[in-house]
C-alpha cells in the first residue's frame, strides 16, 4: 500500500487553521507530513521543526570561494604569469584586487544562494504526485493543504483520515504515488 499511494491530502481555509492542524498532526506523532501554502506562514517553521536553512552556508561557500579564486586569478595573471608594470603600481596588492574579488564574491554568493535553494528543495522537478489533484491547484491561490505521507510509520488510511477530519480538513483525498 505504501508504494501505491503518496499520502492523504486535506484542505484548510486559513493560515491559523493550517497552523493549528500542523501542530496537532505533529503532536499525534506523525513525522512525514508537509504543508502546502500560497505564501510562507510564520510559525510554521517551528511547528515543522526546521532548523536554520543551509542556504546561507551555500552562499558563504560559493561567495568565499569566488573571493579567494578571484584574488588568486589576479595574482596569477598580473603578478606571476605576465607581470606588467603599470604606473609604477605594485604587481599585486590587496587594495586593487579587493574590488573585483569583492564583486565576484557577491556574484558567487548570489549563485550559491539560488543553487542552494534549488538543491535543498529538490528542484527543478518535472512532476509531483500532488499536481495530479485538481484541487491542489488552489494551493497557489488561497487554500492551504496538509499532506500526511503514506511512508509515515503511523500512516493508516482510516486512522489518518479520521485525524484530518477531526482537525477540520475538507476535501480529504488519497493521492496516488
Amino acid at each position: 500500500m505504501t508504494a501505491k499511494y503518496y499520502g492523504l491530502m486535506a484542505e484548510f481555509d486559513s493560515p491559523a487553521a493550517i497552523l493549528g492542524a500542523a501542530e496537532k498532526v505533529r503532536a499525534a506523532g506523525y513525522r512525514r507530513w508537509d504543508v502546502f501554502t500560497p505564501f510562507p506562514i510564520h510559525g510554521l517553521d517551528q511547528v515543522a521543526g526546521f532548523k536554520n536553512s543551509l542556504v546561507g552556508w551555500f552562499a558563504l561557500l560559493f561567495g568565499g570561494g569566488a573571493f579567494v579564486a578571484t584574488m588568486g586569478l589576479i595574482w596569477f595573471s598580473n603578478a606571476f604569469d605576465y607581470p606588467l608594470i603599470v604606473g609604477g603600481k605594485p604587481m599585486f596588492s590587496p587594495p586593487m584586487s579587493f574590488v573585483p574579488s569583492y564583486i565576484m564574491m557577491v556574484l558567487g554568493a548570489a549563485v550559491g544562494a539560488f543553487v542552494g535553494m534549488l538543491a535543498l528543495n529538490g528542484l527543478p522537478r518535472l512532476h509531483h504526485p500532488l499536481l495530479q489533484k485538481a484541487r491542489f491547484a488552489l494551493a497557489s491561490r488561497d487554500k492551504f493543504f496538509l499532506v500526511i505521507g503514506a511512508n509515515d510509520l503511523k500512516f493508516s488510511e482510516t486512522e489518518t483520515r479520521r485525524l484530518l477530519e477531526s482537525l477540520g480538513g475538507t476535501h480529504i483525498e488519497l493521492v496516488e504515488a
Binding site: T37, P38, F39, V55, V99, I103
Partner: protein, 474 residues
C-alpha cells in the same frame, strides 16, 4: 489616568496603532490572485499594442541598424573626438546603470528594512533593473570599437598570453556590471518562481501550462520550499543591497581615478550611487504611474505607495543637492585653478552652460515640489516630475563627462562635442529595446509579486482575525 499612573511600574506597551493595509478594500488572497494574474492571462488591450509597436521598432530596427553601421564602420560615426573621447555612449551607460539602481534599492533594501508596501511594486521595479542593466552593458561593449575583441576584457587564456589589467577601474567595471546583471536576474527570477507556479496552476492551455510549468521548476509551495526560499531571498536581498552601493561606486571610480579636473574627486563613488538611485526613482515614477492606471492596479499600488516613492525621491534629491554643493565647495576650496575653471564653466561657460543649469534647476530645484502633499497626490504632475528627473539626471552625466573633457589643462587641446544622428538613434534604440522588454514582461509575467503581496496581507497572518485566529491578537 490613575490606572495609567500605576502602570508605570509594570510597563504595558501602548496599544499598537493599526497600520494602513497594503491593499485597499480588504481584498483577500483569492481576489488578489485573480486580479494580479489577470493581465498576463487576459486579452491584450489596445494600449499595449500602441506602446509596443514603436518600442519594437526601436528594438528590432533602429538599434540593430545603428549597431551594424557603427560596428562595421567604426566609432567615428559617433560624435566622440579628441579631447571628448567619452560622449553619449558613456553618458547613456551611466544613465542606464543609474536607472537600474532604484529597482534594486526598492526590492532589496526595503525588503531588509521590512517595508511591506514594497511587495506591491518590487517586481515591476526589479524588471526595470534587469532590462536597464542590459541596456547599460551594451554601451561599453560597443564603445571599445572593435567589438570582436570585447572578450579581451574577460580573463580568458588566449594565444597572446595576455591577461586583463586588474589595476584599472575600467576592468572592475566589467566585473561589476556583469555581476549586477546576473545577480539582479537571479533575484528577479527567485521572486518569480512562486508566481510562475500560480500561472501554471491557472493555465488553461497546454502550451501555457508547459511553459509556466517549466519556468516554475516544479514549485509546489511546501513548508520546506518556503523555508529555504525565504532564506535565499534574504541572502539575495543582502547581496543586492551591497550591489546598490558598489556598482555605481565602481562606475564613479572609472572617473575619479583619472587626473582630470571635474572628475578627480573623492566624492565620486558616493555621488554616482546617489545620482543613480535618484534617477532610478524618476524612472520608477514614469513606469508605475501609467502602469497602475492602465493595468487597473489602483487598489494594489495605492496612492499611499506612490506617496512614499515620492518621499524617497525627495530624499535622494536632497542628497544629490548636498553633493552638488560639496562639489562646488571643494572645487573652490581646493584652490586648484583647473578645478575652479571647470566648475565655473559648468554654469557660465560657453557651449554647455545650459547643462549645468538644467542639472541644478531640475535635479535639486524641481524635486522640492514634492515637499507638498498636493503635488504628491497629483500623479500627473508627479509623472511629469519623473520624466524631468530622468532628463535632468541625463544632463548631469553630460555635464560631468563632456563638461569636464572639452576644456582640459591645455587650451591647445580644447574642442567641442556634438552627438551625431547615430548617437541619437542608438539611444532611441536602447529606449525601444528597454520598453519592448518591459511590455513583454507585463504581458507574460505577473507584474506584481502575487505570493509576496498575499503574504503581507492580514489574511496571511495566523495571529490576525482575518487569518483565522480566534479572538484576534492578544
Amino acid at each position: 489616568m490613575a490606572e495609567a499612573a500605576t502602570n508605570l511600574k509594570t510597563f504595558v506597551p501602548p496599544a499598537e496603532l493599526p497600520r494602513a493595509p497594503i491593499v485597499e478594500n480588504n481584498r483577500g488572497p483569492g481576489w488578489l490572485t485573480d486580479k494580479l494574474a489577470s493581465f498576463a492571462e487576459g486579452k491584450t488591450p489596445l494600449w499595449w499594442w500602441i506602446l509596443f509597436i514603436p518600442a519594437v521598432f526601436g528594438a528590432a530596427v533602429l538599434l540593430p541598424a545603428m549597431l551594424i553601421y557603427q560596428i562595421s564602420t567604426g566609432v567615428g560615426v559617433w560624435g566622440n573626438n579628441q579631447p571628448v573621447a567619452w560622449g553619449w555612449d558613456i553618458i547613456n551607460f551611466v544613465w542606464w546603470v543609474g536607472v537600474a539602481h532604484a529597482g534594486t534599492l526598492i526590492s532589496a533594501m526595503l525588503f531588509l528594512t521590512r517595508q511591506h508596501w514594497r511587495t506591491t511594486i518590487g517586481r515591476a521595479t526589479e524588471a526595470m533593473t534587469v532590462f536597464s542593466v542590459m541596456m547599460a552593458g551594451l554601451y561599453p561593449a560597443i564603445h571599445v570599437g572593435r567589438v570582436w575583441f570585447a572578450w579581451f576584457m574577460f580573463p580568458i587564456p588566449n594565444s597572446n598570453g595576455l591577461w586583463p589589467q586588474f589595476r584599472s577601474p575600467l576592468m572592475w567595471d566589467v566585473f561589476a556590471v556583469n555581476t549586477y546583471l546576473v545577480v539582479s536576474i537571479l533575484f528577479w527570477y527567485l521572486g518569480l518562481i512562486p508566481d510562475l507556479a500560480v500561472l501554471r496552476d491557472r493555465a488553461t492551455t497546454r502550451v501555457r501550462k508547459f511553459i509556466y510549468g517549466f519556468l516554475a521548476m516544479g514549485w509546489i509551495g511546501s513548508a520546506r520550499h518556503w523555508h529555504h526560499y525565504e532564506k535565499a531571498y534574504v541572502v539575495l536581498s543582502g547581496l543586492c543591497t551591497l550591489l546598490v552601493f558598489t556598482v555605481s561606486s565602481i562606475v564613479g571610480l572609472d572617473f575619479c581615478t583619472s587626473q582630470l579636473a571635474g572628475w578627480h574627486a573623492t566624492i565620486f563613488p558616493l555621488y554616482f550611487v546617489v545620482g543613480a538611485v535618484y534617477c532610478g526613482f524618476g524612472m520608477v515614477l514614469v513606469l508605475l504611474i501609467p502602469l497602475r492606471k492602465l493595468c487597473h492596479l489602483e487598489e494594489i499600488i495605492t496612492p499611499r505607495h506612490m506617496d512614499r516613492i515620492c518621499k524617497l525621491t525627495l530624499l535622494s534629491s536632497l542628497a544629490i543637492g548636498y553633493i552638488y554643493l560639496m562639489e562646488y565647495f571643494i572645487a573652490w576650496y581646493s584652490g586648484d585653478p583647473y578645478e575652479r575653471w571647470v566648475f565655473g564653466h559648468r554654469l557660465f561657460g560657453h557651449t554647455y552652460w545650459y547643462g549645468g543649469w538644467i542639472m541644478i534647476v531640475v535635479n535639486v530645484g524641481l524635486a522640492q515640489l514634492l515637499w507638498f502633499k498636493r503635488v504628491r497626490q497629483n500623479l500627473k504632475l508627479v509623472f511629469l516630475i519623473g520624466v524631468l528627473i530622468n532628463i535632468g539626471m541625463w544632463f548631469e552625466r553630460f555635464v560631468i563627462i563632456v563638461g569636464s573633457l572639452y576644456q582640459d589643462f591645455l587650451p591647445a587641446n580644447w574642442g567641442v562635442y556634438f552627438p551625431t544622428w547615430v548617437d541619437i538613434c542608438t539611444y532611441l534604440g536602447t529606449l525601444g529595446a528597454f520598453f519592448t522588454m518591459y511590455l513583454l514582461f507585463i504581458k507574460f509575467l505577473p507584474l506584481v509579486a502575487i505570493a509576496e503581496v498575499k503574504g503581507a496581507l492580514p489574511q496571511a497572518d495566523p495571529e490576525h482575525p482575518l487569518g483565522g485566529a480566534k479572538g484576534g491578537r492578544s
